[in-house]
Structure formats: structure tokens, C-alpha cells
Symmetry: C2
Subunit: 367 residues, 2 copies
């Protein structure tokens, strides 16, 4: 909890004050069965998000990846004015993102060192920058979205891809955010799925191609690529080239709302279905079934709502889709299982990806 | 944690798929010593704040104070479109602010029923609305504040009272936020301090007068009032009148930077010192010592930084003062104790107020 540990020193010393100079009885003692602690914790929670976003923006964790630094050196290198520097770094210590040694030097904790140092492969700072640049603003309009049922991301709603991709800077920020948001899920999929039994994989709605890149780099026998709108091709090719995978991963251009999907042993639809309404989800699942090899697998993943509708992150993610899309939402594994069965998939299983996403895997029967 | 409970059903069923239709080896298993859970939790924490702010804005807890309501009735009464309604209320259940019974009806939890029903005396929704209207925006500019050391609240910085009070709507929102933010601390003070041994109390920088009202209503023998800039007088008089205390509490007009403080047995400076730089703090403590009766008490409270600088809320509050003020910050009990001793106070004690504020109490010696 955020409340400070209680001592009764105040009451005790006030009593001593009375003995010294004045008269009066004992103070009433007031205790509440229902404290406001949980309300206050949630009310102030956005402070913690913004603290972390600023630390990532100012690249604090990259600066500390080599060795701990003292306050003045760290503040100077991060470009932080001395007025707020000590409180800022100490708050990062208090929240467990930094540690402070006996000499007052600041260093990374293991998780921030691994995930928030820009020079490490597991860097997920892009996700936090995306949350900061896009979602923090959109969530400012939650009440309006709840009242109207309409998205609040303006012309840049997810799904409004022509608008998103009309400006190259907007496109780049969006695509980078998508990659950062997919990275952990992509790595979990690369590690957990039995890729050895398949030869080709294509990621549907691939953006920069983060998912096929993570899978292909861990499984050299695989080939395939990513399917997306033609405007995305240069970003995809550059990303795949940067990862040295141009010989195995190619770009498949198309519009999944109008065109058939490309053929492969495994198709991945990550963070796609939640952007769309139910008829579109069913259309996409049908197209995937059509495009897969016999015995091929479809992997769908999103931040699912738990079947009991009791877990906050999936429900909050669903409200994020209210803010972001015209008809999207999160859904439960049971709902998706039914849609996949209706599309002809069998042996449907659920696989948590350990990063707030869960995958549903379905097999197209051999017949 | 926010991650969904893991099952290994996915891997198991994928293995069955292999037996049925294809060949290949076992999937590699990947486990991380350092998970990104804590990073993701903080990154998404602002979603929880905004969920609660919207629920308070839409007065969900007031609507449910009488009896539980089903989804459609609650959504209709709260003015929430059906698209997001179920996810919204279920997310409030998941975060513990609502409960959902077997019939699917939503009801308040004890803490939300007590603190977030507008018609209850302990209502603190005004604080959440203040955080939403003012702080959510200001914290969007944290990186800029860190880089420059300058406040980011524009012409409406705390301390810029002429600007804050120039527009009556701005003044009202600000003063209401101040009252809501002081309410819990005021009640704790009213309950915990030995008021029986004093006759008069004046609250310095009183705004609407929330603090003297809470103290006076619990202790009928006390008289006094609140000291603030002349522009605040109408709001103070209205608030005190609404609470039926006009016979015991009066308004003392003045500018504590230029004028002496009014005389009383007890002076309260709540959420005042943290707005100002150190010389101003010392000036104010000296004026308080001057104004108090012999054996009188000064009560100072703010969201203190803990002496070890290890607790997040005080440090984050200090960054909030960076955003809000030109020279303010939070401070530790040890620092304040020293300033109070320098000003002539003795028997200084610390009293946590149970709501993220802590008080320092000092006695003016009898001599």
C-alpha cells in the first residue's frame, strides 16, 4: 500500500505537551472498517505509469546498463534538471525499477536492465512509448467513449489504416508501437509452439513483421512472411532486412477484408480479431481456414477476457478497443473457441503467452 | 498480477495435433528469471485510474447506493452506451469497486459505498474529479518538467492564486478539489488531536474551510476559522454556512506572504509548506510561532517523503509539486522537524493521518 507506516508517536508526544503546559482529556480514537486505501491507490496509479514513461523517454535504463551512476552524473547524462532529479530517481527506486546503493549511486534492477535498456534484444520500451504517446491521450476521453459507444482516437482509429498510413511519421510511430506490443507474445509463440512439425508460417496483419521475425530467427527451417496492406511493405522489408531474414521472409500484399489470405502451414492472427466486429471476425477465421494446408494450424492471440469476466486487464483492454475501434472488443476463450469450431477448426487449445496475451490454437483437419 | 492464470492445455493439445496429422519434435520451453510483469503493471496502471475517474464522473456509485441494479438499468441510469457498458462494470468488479451477484446485478463494495456515493458525508469523489481534471493533464508533461525544472500547470500553477481565482469557474473547481483532498486528513486530525485542551483553531490557507469545519463539527467547544486571500471569502462563508457553523467559524482575510497570521491556540498549515521554497517555509513557520498562544500548537501536514526516501507516494507527490509549483516539493519529517525547531517549536511529533498525509505537531513553549 501507499500509506506510510503508522506510529503513535504523535499522540504520545501531544500527551507530553499537555502535561507540560495545558489541560484536557484524551483524544478520541477513530478507526474505519472500510478504508479508502484501494480508492486512493487506483486514483493515483497514473502517476506510476507516467514516472515509468518518462524514465523510458529519458533513456535512464540504457544509461545505467553499464554501471551505476551517482545522482549528478545520471541527471546530467539523462538531461534532467537538478530540481526534480533526486525525487525522480528515488521514486524509480521506490517502485522497484532502480536500486540505490550505500554510496547513493543508482543502478538498474534485473527486469529494467533486461527489458528497458534500448541496446538489449528484449527491449520493450517501444510499448511504453506507444502507451504514452497514444493511449494516455485516448484514455483521457474514456467517459465520452462510454457515453457514446464511439471510438475516441479520431482519424487515427485502429482499423482506419489508410489514415494511419497516409503520413509517414504517424505510420512509423504506429508500426513501432505494434512491434513493441507484439514482441513478448512473438517470443513466447516462437518458444512454445511446436514449429518443428511445420515448414511455412505467415503472419496476418503483420505490420513491421515482428512476429515472423521472432519465429524465424529461432527456427531456421521455417520460411514464410507477413501479410498486410501494400503501404506497410517498405517498413516490413526494412525490418526483416535489419534482422537478416530477407532470404526466408517475404511480404504478401493484400487487404484481408477483400482478398483471400495467402497459403501456409501456419497462419498467425495476433491482435487482429479484437479490432473488428463479430461478422468480420468470422469472415477472417473462414478465410484462414480456407488458406491453410491440411493439418495446418491457426494461431489467434489477443488480450483475452477471462471466461469468468473477473480479471481486470482483459476487461480494460476491451475498453481500450472501445476507445480505439468502431466495432472491436476483447472476447473470451470460450467465445473464440466457438467461432473457430464454426469455421471448421478442431483440437482447439488455449495457450497463455505470459505477457497479458493468450493464444487460441486450432487445427485444420486432414480429411 | 494482471497476467491470466496459466494452463498448459495449449502445448498438450498441440502435441495431440501432431500425433494425428504431422511430424516434428517437442517445443523448446523458455522461462525468464526476470519477467516484465512489474513493468507492464506500471505501464498500464493509468487505465485503472481512468476507469475509476469515469465511474465517479458518471456517478455509478451513487446510483448503486440504494440497491443493486442489473446491467441494462444501471447503464441507462448512468447514461452509458450499451457497447462498452458490460466491460466497464465488469472491470469495476475486477478491480474491487463493484460486486456482481449471481443474478448479474451490480452493487457497491463497502469502500466505494462509503467514499464514492455523492450523498454520503465521507464522499471523496471530488478528489478523484480533481485528479482527473487537473493532474491527469499536468502529468502528461512530466518529462518536460524533469528536463526544465519548471512547473507545467501554466497560468494556473498552485501558488499563482490571483490567476487561479480570476475566473469563478476555475476558482470553484480548484477550491472543491482542495476540499476533497483535505477531507480525510481533516477528519483524522479532528479525531486524533487532543482538541479538548484548546479553545481556538485557525486554518492557514483554508480555501473553502474544509479543515476547520471538520474539526469544529466534532468539537463543539472550539471556535476560530480560516485564513486565506480575500478572493476566497465568499466560498468559505458559503461552505461554513452550509455546514451550520457560521456562529463559530469566521474568515480571516490576508496574504500569508506579506501579513502576520491571526492569533489562535492552534494553527493548522495543511498542504501549504509543500507549495513553497525553503525560505518561504521558514518565513511561514516563524509567523505561526509569532501568532500562537503560549503552549499553543502548530499542526503542519503534507504528503511527506519518508525519511529513508523509499516510499513511492511521497516521492511521486514531490514530483507533483514540481509540476504544480515554481519552488515547491515534499519534504521529510526530519527536515520539517529541524525547521520547526529553528522557528522555536518544541516537543515535535509526527502523526500519520491514514490517507497519505502525515502531520508534524509542534508546541510553542510557555516560557
Amino acid at each position: 500500500m501507499l500509506t506510510i507506516d503508522h506510529t503513535r508517536a504523535g499522540a504520545r508526544l501531544a500527551d507530553e505537551g499537555r502535561t507540560a503546559c495545558s489541560g484536557g482529556g484524551a483524544a478520541a480514537l477513530h478507526t474505519d472498517a472500510a478504508t479508502p486505501d484501494r480508492i486512493l491507490e487506483a486514483g493515483y496509479a497514473f502517476w506510476r505509469s507516467k514516472l515509468l514513461f518518462s524514465a523510458v523517454e529519458l533513456d535512464v535504463f540504457t544509461l545505467l546498463a553499464e554501471a551505476p551512476l551517482d545522482l549528478d552524473t545520471l541527471a546530467a547524462r539523462a538531461g534532467i534538471h537538478r530540481r526534480g532529479a533526486r525525487d525522480f530517481f528515488d521514486a524509480l527506486v521506490a517502485l522497484g525499477f532502480l536500486r540505490r546503493d550505500g554510496a547513493g549511486r543508482y543502478g538498474n534492477q534485473p527486469d529494467s536492465n533486461r527489458y528497458l535498456d534500448r541496446d538489449k534484444p528484449a527491449y520493450i520500451g517501444g510499448l511504453l512509448l506507444h502507451l504514452n504517446a497514444r493511449h494516455y491521450r485516448n484514455w483521457g476521453l474514456l467517459t465520452q467513449a462510454l457515453r457514446t459507444g464511439m471510438p475516441q482516437s479520431g482519424a487515427l482509429a485502429t482499423g482506419s489504416y489508410p489514415a494511419l498510413y497516409a503520413d509517414s511519421a504517424t505510420q512509423e510511430l504506429f508500426l513501432r508501437g505494434m512491434s513493441a506490443g507484439s514482441l513478448l507474445a512473438a517470443r513466447a509463440l516462437a518458444a512454445k509452439f511446436p514449429w518443428q512439425r511445420y515448414r511455412t508460417v505467415i503472419d496476418i496483419g503483420t505490420a513491421e513483421g515482428c512476429v515472423p521475425v521472432e519465429i524465424a530467427r529461432m527456427h531456421p527451417h521455417l520460411a514464410g512472411g507477413g501479410f498486410d496492406l501494400p503501404a506497410v511493405e517498405p517498413a516490413f522489408l526494412a525490418y526483416v532486412h535489419d534482422h537478416g531474414l530477407s532470404d526466408r521472409l517475404r511480404f504478401y500484399a493484400g487487404d484481408f477484408l477483400r482478398d483471400p489470405l495467402p497459403h501456409a502451414d501456419v497462419l498467425v492472427m495476433g491482435r487482429i480479431l479484437h479490432n473488428w466486429d463479430l461478422p468480420t471476425r468470422k469472415l477472417l477465421l473462414g478465410k484462414a481456414h480456407q488458406a491453410l494446408s491440411p493439418a495446418g494450424a491457426l494461431i489467434v492471440y489477443d488480450p483475452l477476457v477471462d471466461d469468468g469476466r473477473m480479471t481486470a486487464h482483459g476487461l480494460l483492454s476491451s475498453l481500450n478497443m472501445l476507445l480505439e475501434t468502431a466495432g472491436g472488443s476483447e472476447y473470451t476463450a470460450n467465445e473464440c473457441r466457438q467461432w473457430m469450431e464454426d469455421a471448421g477448426f478442431t483440437e482447439i487449445s488455449v495457450q497463455p503467452l505470459g505477457d497479458m496475451h493468450s493464444a487460441l490454437i486450432g487445427i485444420k483437419p486432414c480429411e
